[in-house]
Assembly symmetry: C2
Homo-oligomer: 412 residues x 2
């Protein structure tokens, strides 16, 4: 009978938390001395679990089962944001190690192959998703030669400093890696609000990031009558109201859009702003809806420019990230395991955040399992999840892992 | 027959422009070496005009007529903004010198007393209106001991560096100074838009400056559904729309309000802003309307807080400046002179900008005359006024000065 060990799971998560502990949170930036110490500890844990483990040439910790494939790859990341929570990606990595151990301890599953990964730099201290991108064969040499952290340190120098610049880089083995599972905290408040304990991810949403610049006429705020002003800030505010109306027409309950930054120039009490900038991001699981929102924005901009003395221009700030659908057969394994262990306490949901799974899904069938975030908080020192949810999530992931591997073995 | 000399007037304005000339504009910050050179040149011009002139202990250039009072004081300022125009306050100072000369050259007016001032630091490089405040007897020692410019230089040190720290400070002579005239460029586009050449100022508007802070909940922009967000930035945008509606109900054509700065925290694409700040300024000639606008704002804030999950608080950023009414008898002298020399080409109007006249008006009956600003531009290198308007403005000011002084002498 397959059984995870909750005490061992929680002990490992709590031990990993000590590397970079800052109050209740964790600061463990990719390739920092703290991060490398944690990675060496992970190698030891993976070896204890019977995996052949090492740190690769970009920093990913990879543990390979000695069992023959087909293998299920379980992974996430143990690097954090500058103000990170203790679980975030760490949860999925320790789940992977615990599931490898639990499968090895059970007669019916000890022949199954689970490989475990802690991908480097999911959070983008240097270059987001570096580990998973390297793993699937994307060219990361440009990033290594040019990406820098906030202090200006070059990624290549950080790899040399960490002593891993010459280590081999782990690469996908397409004959072996037949499925990918990434357990993660939800990072939102949807499960908690709905009284659910588990989320089976349907899609990782797509993202559009645009910058809008409004150009009017800078003027004296005392001597310029309202009627003749070309106030770029007032135009921006009016535009947002129209944009909200248009987006509401197109949105479903999961569509989100955010104005994260507004800057008025010159930014003083006494000057009518001559220029105003805003950052706009929107996310949705449906690529057609993202396109429709972008078209609606373009239509609004044309109409606005036709009738206003303030001119607005839009530019693309980041290349669009397309939505990535999770493999439906794998979703079914997760859903069946969730229903077996927590009947009625789970739901299917999109992931509003980005994850390594979106990189790997282009090469290996992929799925994700969420556990609730207390108060919906993430990327914050106070991020947390109930212990009962942490344990339940691992039990469901282990059951699904066995089920996935049994099926892979039947078909191989 | 009283006649100003247009060539002499324009030559002096153009010569003053050379001190700190930067392209078409002027950079002549209070007490800078450039400013002090210009002040010494002004002293010479005032002495040539027959005035007893010197630079006082705060930097004001004061030229006193040798004629017995009652005296008309004509003044403005020759310091500039960091990106100043060539006329701004310089116009009124050179008008004063030219009018003193013109009166002295005319048999019917040569006995009349015109004193001329270039008040230091109207623009607030160290402490706004320093010269006029010192002149009327306000305590400026605190400012001298504590005010600093943008580079951190203490006002006291700047006065010592300029070599004037121990010079006596010129003070109002209430037995002598019976009227104050400040000619100035309009700094707005109202005269130009109306096809007028001159403005007789009715009131210098009052100013309220408030800071509004919206506090919501910072959250992940991907994982936080719209329905449960407490987006401080979205709340700010919605509030501005309501505020605009409320202010429009209360405003007349001269009421102005400006949101000059907006800051969202933390200010990135991927984070729902947890905090949003805005700077709000409004100006009006009617103190009752300013109070009504502030009450309307308070009512809006209460209603907003009662129905929103984002909380807004208002704080006063600067002490309110009350509107200052210009003396009506002096307005009539200006209006009569304008109508005589430019029939139908003048109008009465409020001053949307602040001026030394608002300080002096509390002690001496005061009036202001405006000439048009091309394109309504001020505090900018390209600020300019048609030569014909510059000359006409001085002719009208001279005629009004004679008329004011004749009346003062009749009543003294």
């Amino acid at each position: 009978m397959l059984k995870i060990n909750p005490t061992r799971l929680l002990n490992d998560l709590n031990h990993l938390r000590t590397f970079g502990a800052t109050g209740p949170g964790v600061v463990r930036l990719s390739l920092s001395a703290t991060d490398m110490t944690a990675r060496r500890w992970l190698v030891d844990r993976m070896r204890d679990a019977g995996l052949d483990a090492s740190i690769d040439g970009v920093g990913t910790v990879f543990g390979r089962s000695r069992n023959a494939g087909p293998a299920l790859l379980i992974g996430s990341h143990t690097d954090t944001q500058p103000t990170g929570g203790w679980l975030d990606g760490a949860l999925g990595v320790i789940y992977g190690i615990e599931i490898a151990r639990a499968l090895a301890e059970c007669e019916e599953t000890k022949h199954l192959a689970v490989d475990v990964a802690s991908w480097i730099d999911e959070e983008g201290t240097f270059s987001g998703f570096l580990g998973s991108r390297s793993f699937v064969g994307d060219n990361v040499d440009d990033a290594i030669g040019h990406a820098r952290d906030r202090e200006g340190v070059l990624l290549a120098d950080a790899l040399a400093q960490a002593g891993i610049a010459d280590a081999p880089r782990v690469r996908i083995d397409e004959a072996r890696h037949k499925a990918y599972l990434e357990p993660h905290i939800e990072q939102g408040g949807r499960l908690e609000a709905g009284g659910k304990s588990l989320g089976v991810v349907t899609t990782i949403v797509g993202i559009r990031e645009l910058a809008l610049r409004f150009t009017g006429q800078r003027n004296h705020a005392g001597t310029t009558p309202m009627a003749i002003r070309r106030d770029a800030g007032a135009a921006l505010v009016a535009f947002i109201a129209r944009m909200d109306d248009a987006f509401k027409q197109l949105a479903d309950a999961d569509t989100v859009w955010t104005v994260g930054r507004i800057e008025l120039d010159p930014g003083s009490f006494s000057v009518v702003p001559g220029r105003a900038d805003m950052y706009l991001q929107f996310r949705d699981a449906d690529p057609a809806r993202l396109d429709a929102m972008e078209r609606a924005l373009a239509t609004l901009i044309d109409a606005f420019n036709a009738e206003n003395s303030v001119h607005v221009e839009v530019s693309t700030s980041e290349p669009p990230e397309q939505p990535v659908v999770m493999n439906s057969a794998l979703q079914t394994h997760l859903a069946d395991a969730a229903e077996a262990l927590a009947p009625g306490q789970w739901e299917r949901m999109p992931s509003g955040a980005s994850h390594d799974a979106q990189v790997i899904a282009h090469h290996v069938p992929a799925c994700m399992l969420f556990v609730p975030s207390i108060g919906g908080v993430s990327h914050d020192f106070i991020e947390d999840t109930d212990e009962a949810h942490i344990v339940l999530g691992c039990e469901v992931a282990a059951r699904a892992a066995a089920s996935i591997l049994h099926e892979l073995n039947r078909h191989s």
